[in-house]
């Protein structure tokens, strides 16, 4: 390897290594068409090709690989949810994440730094105790910790009792982690393309042909494609795409804003989140502080950044980490979140027989990427809904069987 590197360094050409095959012409027919080449879409394609031997697959992407919410999320991985359905689902995803770099032979920069959620009220302490009990019962490492333990974990945190909302306790989640979000999509796309999957960027699905309750073809800006099965994995545009297949969804789109500071020396190890002051903060391996979690107060399909959110996120971040008052901001951005009424995803069957949903990813999509790839691929290959995602079916809203995770999402809504 060092010689290869030396040779590369002395070369005058610097040949670029292609991560995935460039798109060719669209074929007339694919067994499986996946709409959306983000983490989820490529993960489904990867699992279909590697574990189910289904390679006549096209991943259609309106823009470029991993350019939507895969690029915009704040890369938090955790499983400390509240419901049995939620915890067992995200727990499997965290397990898959821990082995993802080996699975791909591609570094996704997984860092198991743990996640700390802060309680500033008696009600929050009570709900954290509940979550910790549920998590421990399900084999997820969560515990309620006191002020002293918090101060030891995060020495720079403002533990003053004179602050506006003094910290009372914390929910410590040792399984919490972060990873390079782009690398997750790249790794999946590379693995899928190496096995024969076609990735078509700049290919927008304009219409979906449905006859007698079955999808027959999708119309794109590059021509019509017949297909055996269609999967939609387009977080942020789920309602728009599902509508083309005549499927109404219980989703409202809200922009979620985040921002990042200039780099600092490493001083913050875990991910710190406070649902009460509406902010979460972590330091990336590059040293930047990612400050996130501000949802706009009304639905919008626009990813502009606002001064209002910058002000409120900064104020909240400074309350937790006063030294951030000196920080200069590098970037501020927004991603469109598909908010469902119960803050859980919508996965699996739809009213159209061969059209599968991977939608409603609100603020919890990145952490679920590997398990979505595994379960949706299994659904496509076997036509049977895996037990672990059965509770997240679209039909649950008609049966009034929602899975309430509103309290366990870190972002403010």
């Amino acid at each position: 390897m060092p010689f290869g590197l030396l040779k590369y360094g002395l070369s005058s050409e610097y040949p670029a290594q292609h991560h995935f095959t460039p798109a060719t012409e669209l074929k007339k027919h694919y067994d499986v068409v996946i709409i959306g080449a983000g983490g989820h879409g490529t993960a489904i394609a990867y699992n279909l090709a590697k574990y189910h031997g289904i390679t006549n697959v096209a991943v259609l992407e309106k823009s470029y690989l991993g350019g939507g919410n895969t690029a915009r999320n704040t890369a938090v991985i955790r499983s400390n949810y509240l419901t049995e359905e939620g915890v067992s689902f995200y727990r499997e995803s965290v397990k898959l994440y821990n082995n993802l770099s080996n699975e791909f032979n591609y570094n996704v920069m997984m860092e198991n730094r743990g996640q700390l959620t802060l309680a500033h009220s008696d009600a929050a302490v009570r709900s954290f105790r509940w979550r910790a009990e549920v998590n421990q019962h399900m084999g997820v490492r969560s515990e309620l910790i006191d002020r002293q333990a918090i101060a030891e974990l995060v020495p720079n945190l403002n533990m003053s009792e004179d602050s506006r909302f003094p910290i009372m306790a914390g929910l410590w989640h040792a399984d919490g982690a972060t990873a390079r979000h782009d690398a997750v999509a790249w790794g999946y796309a590379k693995g899928a393309c190496d096995r024969g999957v076609e990735l078509h960027q700049l290919t927008e699905v304009e219409d979906i042909e449905v006859s007698r309750g079955r999808v027959t073809a999708v119309k794109t800006n590059r021509g019509r494609v017949e297909c055996g099965v269609v999967v939609q994995a387009v977080a942020g545009a789920s309602s728009i795409v599902a509508k083309k297949a005549g499927i109404p969804l219980p989703i409202h789109c809200y922009p979620l804003q985040a921002m990042v500071t200039q780099p600092y020396k490493p001083i913050l190890t875990p991910h710190v989140s406070s649902p009460h002051v509406h902010v979460y903060v972590h330091q990336t391996s590059r040293g930047e502080f990612v400050i996130g979690g501000g949802s706009d107060p009304y639905p919008l399909y626009h990813t502009r950044a606002t001064l209002d959110q910058r002000e409120s996120l900064s104020a909240a971040a400074m309350e937790l980490f006063p030294f951030l008052a000196q920080a200069r901001m590098l970037r501020q951005w927004a991603g469109t979140t598909d908010m469902t009424p119960d803050y859980s995803p919508i996965m699996g069957l739809s009213p159209v027989e061969n059209y599968y949903l991977d939608a409603g990813w609100g603020t919890w999509g990145f952490k679920a990427t590997p398990i979505c790839g595994v379960t949706i691929a299994e659904l496509v290959a076997t036509k049977k809904v895996p037990e672990i995602i059965k509770p997240f079916e679209l039909e649950r809203f008609y049966k009034y069987e929602q899975i309430n995770e509103a309290g366990a999402t870190a972002a403010s809504h």
Binding site: P248, L300, Y301, H302, D308
Partner: protein, 100 residues
Amino acid sequence: MKLLTCPLNGQRNISEFTYGGEYHPMPDPETASPRQWAEYVFFHDNEAGVVIEWWCHTASSFWFLAERNTITDRVIRTFEASEIFQNRIDFAEPTNGEKK
């Protein structure tokens, strides 16, 4: 700060308002099936374009409607609910669980 015009209180900061959801005609509670109720309560058009939606001026608890473009974030107009709701609705008095 973005401004919104309340039909009662005039132009105010948008932080004084609460978003109240898409406007949809309510199905008849006496005849609607559970499925229709689920659709009315949970499902949304989530239109990328011009929508009609409920807003409330929080300080005065005044509910009104707005026409807004969800792509450009421009509010086209705001108007009183009386533009749509012109007839008084008299709900039937409860009759000890018996149906009318």
